[in-house]
Structures are given as structure tokens and as C-alpha cells.
């Protein structure tokens, strides 16, 4: 399994190397337009050494942490509330159904108008983008909680607050983690767009700078770093999930 995956990735790298070095040798198109793995590696090493790469990574991750973090807290609280309280759900449903199909990027200029070019617009934009899908997923996870579990707990003496933190949250937790993974992936997706416009740091800015100064290798490097960040965080969340939810697969190991 693991070997197949590594081989597949090496295969992609080999194809990229063959095409880009081949192009350089044969001169099909301007070599700078098609950076080779070596070019990208050089930019990576240089920006990593002088620290600019880390500054961009930290800036982007900081924005994601604040925007996504605030959205996650709000989605959790409101998702629970909407799932448990029918009037709230009936009120929120049409609003969400109306807002959700609008591509988030369509509102990005609005955020720039409202919050200016500084940090606030990026953070708010990430928060706005990630909130709706996470909210919907959290509410759905809570609604899926088996009502007989609540009855069983109530018959053991659980009050409303006990039901929330001892039954609803643990029962919905697998769905909640999926919601968070979805939200984080989306945050990574839109941070680039937000940083394209009027940012002075961040991976999106790094990529845009590559376009402005005609450094295709830097563009590719920025994109690859984003991909890597996404994979690492996803892997961490998956590992946390496996630890947290041993009870779901415990049968297989006994």
C-alpha cells in the first residue's frame, strides 16, 4: 500500500522531470516557462535559507488559524443549536440555502471594501468561506445522533447539559472532525485568492510575486508548499481521528 503510493508520487515527479528537462534540451518552449524540479528546488532552498519562505508560511497559517478557528467555534456552537432547536433551524435553513451556492470568491472584493487591505479582510474572508460548509456539516452530524441514545442517557438521569456534552458531542464527533477537515481544506483553498489581492506576505503573495517578477519556479514552489501543508494537516487530523475513534474499529483489532 505504502510502497504503491510512494511509487505513484515518484512517477509524477519523473514525468515532470522528463517533460521539463526534455523541453530544456529540445527548446520546444521558453525554458523559464516550464520550471524543472531542479529550478523549483533551488528557489525552495534559497527562500528557505534566508527565511522568507517561513515568513510567508507562518503568515498564511496565522491567517488561517484565526479565520478558520473563529469559524469553527461559531459553526460548532450554531450547528449544535440549529440541530437541537427546531425554530432556529427553520430560520437559518433558507438563509444558508441562499448564501451557500454563491462562490465565496465572488464576495472577496466586498471584504476588501469593508475591511481594507490589511489582515482583517483576509481573516474575515476565510471565516466567511469556511463557516457555512462547517456549520451545515456539524448540524447534519448532530441531527444524525440516534435519539434512543438520548433516551437511554435521560433514563440514567442526564439533564439537558449532560445530554449535550456526554452524548450529543461524543456521538457527533466523527462528523464534527470531518467538518473541520473540510473547513481547513477550504481555508487553504481561499487563502491564496485572498492573498492575491493586496497582501504583503503569505503564500498567495509569494505566488503573485512570482507572476509579477516572472519567476515561474517560485509560482510552482508556492503551490507545492500549499499542497504539502494541506497533506500534513490532513494526515494529522486523520491520525487524531484514528486515536480518538478506536471504539469504531475496535472490533477489527480484537
Amino acid at each position: 500500500m505504502r510502497r504503491t503510493r510512494i511509487l505513484a508520487l515518484l512517477g509524477v515527479l519523473a514525468v515532470w522531470a522528463a517533460v521539463s528537462y526534455g523541453n530544456r534540451a529540445l527548446g520546444v518552449m521558453m525554458p523559464a516557462l516550464l520550471p524543472t524540479p531542479g529550478d523549483v528546488g533551488t528557489v525552495f532552498a534559497a527562500t528557505a535559507r534566508d527565511g522568507t519562505l517561513w515568513r510567508h508560511v507562518v503568515t498564511s497559517l496565522g491567517r488561517i488559524a484565526v479565520g478558520f478557528g473563529a469559524a469553527a467555534v461559531a459553526a460548532l456552537a450554531l450547528g449544535l443549536l440549529a440541530a437541537m432547536c427546531v425554530p432556529v433551524r427553520l430560520m437559518l435553513e433558507p438563509i444558508i440555502e441562499f448564501v451557500r451556492p454563491i462562490p465565496p470568491l465572488a464576495f472577496l472584493p466586498m471584504f476588501l471594501v469593508w475591511f481594507g487591505l490589511g489582515e482583517a479582510s483576509k481573516v474575515a474572508f476565510i471565516g466567511y468561506t469556511t463557516f457555512f460548509p462547517m456549520f451545515v456539516a456539524v448540524a447534519a452530524a448532530v441531527l444524525r445522533v440516534d435519539v434512543t441514545l438520548l433516551r437511554a442517557a435521560a433514563s440514567l438521569g442526564a439533564g439537558h447539559l449532560d445530554l449535550i456534552h456526554r452524548v450529543i458531542v461524543p456521538a457527533a464527533l466523527p462528523g464534527i472532525i470531518v467538518a473541520l477537515r473540510l473547513g481547513f481544506a477550504l481555508a487553504l483553498f481561499v487563502i491564496v485568492g485572498a492573498e492575491f489581492m493586496g497582501a504583503d506576505a503569505g503564500l498567495g503573495h509569494l505566488i503573485m510575486e512570482g507572476r509579477t517578477f516572472f519567476l515561474p519556479a517560485q509560482i510552482v514552489m508556492g503551490a507545492l508548499v500549499l499542497g504539502l501543508l494541506g497533506s500534513v494537516v490532513n494526515a494529522l487530523l486523520l491520525a487524531a481521528e484514528r486515536r480518538l475513534f478506536r471504539w469504531r474499529e475496535a472490533g477489527a483489532t480484537s
Binding site: L149, R151, A152, A154, S155, G157, R166, P170, W247
Partner: protein, 253 residues
């Protein structure tokens, strides 16, 4: 603590039509008494149990438990469900001490109570397992231990052995009989198995179908430890079967 059901009715709305599930049911369950509600499916016996548990509200009439009207579920009435309903994210130990934790019992006491009831249901060696690792019979033993550990005065059981195979079913009936001789709970037990009812109950209440009413009550005058093959046992069995058959026949008319 006794259960006192007076003039209880409950209607459900199905396909825009009001369907009565229970109609004017009166029932007394004395303290420490084991009463089986027996009847074909759709006779409202589970509805009655769910109202006593506080999961459903009656359309008319009232239920009093120890003299106090039932307004919702509570720790005084432990419930054992047909489909076990264990908390899958908790171990056997965590499930059994769930109610004690809610009450804020100290850890030492919780440990002692869990040990006692896991011993009683024969699962002492499985305390650290998760529900997915258990068979149906073991899950239901955990559910029984969980209900008992909370020390309710009343236990409500809704076809608890209905999902188990015939052999496991009889083993658990034996165990429940043994447990009841120790614990002396007030038990309301829903089943559609006549044998099970005669084996366990002090009184068997046969219900009519659609709407559910009480058709006939049998006092089971058999020794505490019962023999499924004794002539008196089979006598009760055939007598109750005759009464239940009338109801089943009505469903098919």
C-alpha cells in the same frame, strides 16, 4: 415504588388519520412486582412502556410512579431497550458507570458498583472492551448492568431479548430471573413471547390490538425458580396462548 396507570390513551397521526394506539388503559404494578405486557406487535405495549418511561406523552390519562406524575424520563426508571443502545464511544466500564458519574458519585464507589454489577452479569473480564467488540447477548448484559448500577427502583424493559437467538435468549432469561431474586426491582417487561412472560412474570397482562387495551390478566402462581417443562408451566402457556391467538386472529381478519 409502584406504577399506577389510569385512563391512559395515546393516539398517533399516521397518513393524516388519527390512529389510537392505546385506549383507556388502567394498570397497577406493585412494588417489587414483575409484570409482563404481552401481545402481538402493534398492540401498543411498547407505547405504554414509552409513556411510563417518559419518552412519550399520553393523549389522555396519567401515569404515576411512587405517587408522583411522570413528566419525562428520570433516573428512578431504568430502561433496557431491545437494540441495547449502549454508548459506543465508552467501554463496558464507562457505560455501566454512566449514571453514577451523572450523580457525581466518588470514583471509589463507582468502581465498586461497576465491579459488582459486571460480576452479576458475568462480564467482569470484559470491562475494558468497547460495545463493537461484544456479541448481542453480551451487549444486553451490559445494558442490564448499566440500568441496575444506577439503582433505579423501577426497571422498564422493551423486548430486551427480542433481537437475540433462542439459546442466548433463554440464558439471559435465567440470568434475569436470578438477578431479580437478588435485586427485587419493580419491573415492567414488554414481550411477545408467551414462554418468556410465563417464565419471568408474577403477572402477565395480555393486551388487545389496535387500539391497545388490557384484555386479560394472569397471575402466575409458580415457584420463584421455574421449570419450563413443568406441567403447571405449560398449562399457563397454553391458556395464555389461547387468549393471545384470539387477538392475532383479529389482526388477520
Amino acid at each position: 415504588m409502584n406504577i399506577h396507570v389510569r385512563g391512559l390513551s395515546r393516539t398517533f397521526i399516521a397518513q393524516g388519520r388519527e390512529t389510537p394506539a392505546l385506549l383507556d388503559v388502567d394498570l397497577e404494578v406493585a412494588e417489587h412486582e414483575f409484570v409482563c405486557l404481552l401481545g402481538p406487535s402493534g398492540c401498543g405495549k411498547s407505547t405504554l412502556l414509552n409513556i411510563v418511561a417518559g419518552f412519550l406523552r399520553p393523549s389522555a390519562g396519567e401515569v404515576r410512579v411512587g405517587g408522583r406524575p411522570v413528566t419525562g424520563p428520570g433516573a428512578d426508571r431504568g430502561v433496557v431497550f431491545q437494540e441495547y443502545v449502549l454508548f459506543p464511544w465508552l467501554t463496558v466500564d464507562g457505560n455501566v458507570q454512566f449514571g453514577l458519574k451523572l450523580k457525581g458519585s466518588p470514583a471509589a464507589e463507582r468502581r465498586a458498583v461497576v465491579a459488582r454489577y459486571l460480576e452479576l452479569v458475568g462480564l467482569a473480564a470484559h470491562a475494558e472492551k468497547y460495545p463493537v467488540q461484544l456479541s448481542g447477548g453480551m451487549k444486553q448484559r451490559v445494558a442490564i448492568a448499566r440500568a441496575l448500577a444506577n439503582n433505579p427502583e423501577i426497571i422498564l424493559m422493551d423486548e430486551p431479548f427480542g433481537a437475540l437467538d433462542a439459546q442466548t435468549r433463554e440464558v439471559l432469561q435465567d440470568e434475569l430471573g436470578r438477578i431479580q431474586r437478588v435485586e427485587h426491582k419493580t419491573v415492567l417487561f414488554v414481550t411477545h413471547s408467551i414462554r418468556e412472560a410465563v417464565y419471568l412474570a408474577d403477572r402477565v397482562v395480555v393486551m388487545t390490538t389496535a387500539p391497545g387495551r388490557i384484555k386479560q390478566v394472569f397471575q402466575i402462581k409458580l415457584p420463584e425458580v421455574r421449570d419450563r417443562f413443568a406441567p403447571e408451566f405449560t398449562h399457563y402457556e397454553s391458556e395464555i396462548t389461547r387468549v393471545v391467538k384470539e387477538e392475532v386472529a383479529k389482526v388477520h381478519e
